[in-house]
Symmetry: C2
Subunit: 408 residues, 2 copies
C-alpha cells in the first residue's frame, strides 16, 4: 500500500487544534507558553502518543517526536514547524507544518511502511515572538545561535520571564537544547502572501529568505503639560515616534517590491492625557531580498532618526537586537521537492520567504528546505488566514513523497 495523505484527517486535526484559543472570525490566539499554547501542545502530544512516537522535550520547550527506522545507524529525516500563533492568528501559520508532519507519520503507519532512517517531527517553541522576543526562539536556542540562559531571562510585557513561563506551563524538558542528529530538515508552511494564488502555483519551492534587521528604539523627550506648554518648548516623544513610524513606511515604499519595513510595537510614557509624552519605545524592522539593500535601508532609517533628533531636540537610542537571513536553502533538497511536486502534476514556483521561519536557524546546520502552499488572498496573521483543504493536502503529499525518498 502506497502511503497517501488523508486530506480529511489532516483537515480535521487542523480544525480541532484551532478550537484551542479560538478568537472571533475563525482565528486562534495561542501565544507561546500561554495556557492555550500549552493545551495545544498536550493535544498534539496525545495524537503522537496514539502513533507510538517517542517524545523528547528540551529545556527551551521544543518538542521532538521520533519514529524509529530500520537502520539504527542512519541519521533522522526531520520536519515540522510551530503551533504557537500571534495574538490575531489564523489556523494555518506554523500549524500546518506540524500537523502535515503528523499526517505523514499517520499515513506511513496506516500503510505499514517503515523507513530505513528514523523520522523526527518537531514543534518549535515561540516561533512568533509576539510574547517574548526575539522570534524563532526555540529553534534559535537549539541551533546555538542564542544562549539558553539569555533566552530564559527574557521577559514579556508583563515582566514574566521565559524561565517562569516554561516552569508554570510544565514545558521545560530535561534535554539540553542542541542540534540533533538529522540528515535533512524540511518545513511546510503557508506562503503568507498573494503571489502563488496570483500565478496559479500549487507548491512554492522556497529557495531562500530575505535579510531582516530588527530594531528596538527609545525616543527620549521631555515631560510637559498639554495646556500651557507652547509648541516650541515641547520635546514630545510621541510626536517624534510618529515621525519615525512614517519614516519607516517611506523607506518601505521606496524598497518595494523586494524590500519591506514595518513599525509594529509601541509603548508610550507616561501615556497620560494631560501630559506631553517624554519617552516612547518603538519596534521596527527592515528587510530585503538582497542583504546589502537591507543594510542600506538601515542606513536610511538611521539618517531619518538623526534628522528627527536634531529637528525636535529629542534623543533616539537604537538597539539593533536581532537579524535573520539571508539564507539560501539547500538546492538539492529544493530540486527534490520540485521533482516530487511535478510528479504529482502540481505547478511549482520558486519563492523567497519574506518572513522569518525556524528553517532559517536549521539551514546552516543541516541540508534544509521549505515548501509553501498558497494563502487565499495573501491574508495572514489575521483570523481570515486560509488555505483550502486541497491546498494543504497537496503540500503534505509532497512532504511525504520527499520524506520517503530521503529516508529510504
Amino acid at each position: 500500500m502506497t502511503p497517501t495523505i488523508n486530506s480529511d484527517r489532516l483537515w480535521q486535526s487542523i480544525m480541532a487544534l484551532a478550537e484551542i484559543g479560538a478568537i472571533p472570525g475563525n482565528g486562534s490566539c495561542r501565544m507561546a507558553l500561554t495556557p492555550e499554547d500549552t493545551a495545544a501542545r498536550s493535544l498534539f502530544l496525545g495524537w503522537c502518543r496514539d502513533l507510538g512516537l517517542a517524545h523528547q522535550q528540551d529545556a527551551i520547550g521544543n518538542q521532538y517526536l521520533r519514529r524509529a527506522g530500520t537502520d539504527p545507524s542512519a541519521k533522522a529525516v526531520a520536519f515540522g514547524s510551530h503551533l504557537d500563533t500571534v495574538p490575531t492568528g489564523g489556523r494555518f501559520d506554523g500549524i500546518i507544518g506540524v500537523l502535515a508532519g503528523l499526517e505523514v507519520l499517520r499515513a506511513l503507519a496506516e500503510a505499514g511502511v517503515r523507513t530505513k532512517a528514523p523520522l523526527e517531527l518537531v514543534n518549535w517553541m515561540n516561533e512568533e515572538g509576539s510574547r517574548f522576543r526575539p522570534a524563532m526562539m526555540g529553534s534559535r536556542v537549539a541551533a546555538g545561535a542564542f544562549s539558553l540562559a539569555d533566552a530564559l531571562a527574557i521577559t514579556d510585557d508583563n515582566g514574566v520571564s521565559v524561565a517562569q513561563a516554561l516552569a508554570e506551563s510544565g514545558q521545560a524538558g530535561p534535554l539540553p537544547p542542541a542540534p540533533r542528529d538529522w540528515s535533512a530538515w524540511l518545513e511546510l508552511h503557508i506562503e503568507q502572501g498573494p503571489v502563488m494564488e496570483a500565478t496559479g502555483a500549487d507548491i512554492g519551492i522556497v529557495v531562500g529568505t530575505m535579510h531582516a534587521r530588527y530594531f528596538q528604539l527609545s525616543v527620549i523627550g521631555e515631560p510637559s503639560h498639554v495646556g500651557p506648554t507652547e509648541m516650541n518648548r515641547r520635546h514630545d516623544s510621541l510626536a517624534a515616534a510618529a515621525e519615525v513610524i512614517l519614516a519607516v513606511e517611506k523607506i518601505a515604499l521606496a524598497a518595494e517590491p523586494n524590500g519591506r519595513a514595518s513599525a509594529t510595537w509601541i509603548e508610550n510614557i507616561p501615556n497620560a492625557r494631560g501630559n506631553v509624552s517624554h519617552l516612547t519605545h518603538l519596534h521596527c524592522d527592515v528587510r530585503h531580498n538582497d542583504a546589502p539593500a537591507a543594510v542600506a535601508m538601515e542606513g536610511e532609517l538611521r539618517a531619518a532618526l538623526a534628522a528627527i533628533e536634531k529637528r525636535r531636540g529629542v534623543r533616539i537610542d537604537v538597539d539593533p537586537y536581532a537579524t535573520f537571513g539571508p539564507i539560501a536553502f539547500d538546492p538539492r533538497l529544493g530540486a527534490l521537492l520540485r521533482q516530487k511536486a511535478e510528479a504529482r502534476q502540481l505547478a511549482t514556483r520558486d519563492m523567497i520567504a519574506a518572513a522569518g521561519h525556524d528553517s532559517v536557524l536549521m539551514a546552516p546546520l543541516f541540508p534544509s528546505a521549505m515548501l509553501f502552499v498558497p494563502s487565499v488572498g495573501g491574508i495572514t496573521h489575521n483570523p481570515k488566514e486560509y488555505s483550502t483543504p486541497e491546498q494543504v493536502a497537496r503540500g503534505a503529499q509532497v512532504l511525504l513523497d520527499a520524506v520517503l525518498e530521503l529516508a529510504g
Copy 2:
C-alpha cells in the same frame, strides 16, 4: 495680631507631602486613588485634625475641611485645589492650592482670628485624569456636570473601576456629591507656563480659561504580517495613527499663540512585533482662548481624519467625550484679588488658563476666581516643576487677604 502667612511652614508642608510618591528628579507620582494619593490624603487630614477642622468626604472622594464662623447663617468662603499628580508630576501643581489653603487656616488660628463666615478648604479627587478620564472628576461630579454612577463605572488602563479604587483606598465618603453652601470659590495654582516669569508678574489674575475639546479616537485597520504583506495591501492602524499625531501637531502650530493641540495617549493592538497593527486608540485634544477657534480646530482635525481614512483604507471613530470652558471667572473676585496683590506691592497680570482646573466646574455655580504664581522656566507636569518659597508665599498671602475680606 494680623494674620500672616508663615512661608517656612507652608514650604515645609509642601516638601513633606512631596516625599509621598517621590520620583527621581524631585518629582512626585500620586495618581488618583493609588496608595500614594491615599497616603497624601491621610497626611493632609492629620494636619487638618490638628487645626480642629471638621472633616466631610463625599462618595466620589472629595475632602471638605471646615472652620466654623461666628455667624451660623453665613455661607462659607471656600478654597483649595487637588493633591493628586500626573505620573511625572512635580511638587506644586494642585498641591500648593490645598496647602496654601491650609496655611491660611493655620495663620488665622495662630492669630486667633475667627471670621464671620465659615471657611471651607477642599481637596478635589482626580483632577489630573491621568488614571481615570475625564480629568477634574471630583469637582465635575460635585458640580453635577457628570453623574456619580457614570464616574464610578469608569475604569483605568488595568480595568480597575473608580468604584473599586474608592472602596479599596477607603476614600468613598458618606456625603452625596452636590454643590455646597458657598458664597465664593478661590483657587491658587501655579501658572504652568513662562509668561509671568518673562513679564515679571508676581500674581496672575486668571480672568478665564481656554475652551478645550477632548477626543478619544479609534483607528481601525486590518491585521497582516510584517514580512510578506506588500505595502499596498496594508491597512496599518499604527501608521495611520502616526499621521493623526502629526496632523494634531500641525493644527497646534497653526493655532499658536492662543491655541494648543496635543496627542498624548496611545494603545496599539496587537502590538506584536510580527504584525501590522489593526487597531490603535489615541487620545487628543484641541484648545483655544477663543471658543469658536477651538471648534474650528476640531473641524480641521476631522478633515484630517477623513483624508487619512480615505488614503489608507482605515476607519477612524471619534468619541468627543468631554470639553471644558470657556469660563469667564467672576470679575469682582478678580478685582478683589488684584487689589489685595497691589496692596502688598505685588505686580499682577491678567491671565487666561490653558489647562483645565477644578475652578472651571465651580465657576457656573459660585462667584469663582483663580490666582497664579509663577512657574520657574514654565516647566510643569515634570519633576523639574518649581516655584520659589517666596513666590508660593506671596500667592498664599493674597489668598489669605482675599479670604479675610470675603469672610468678614
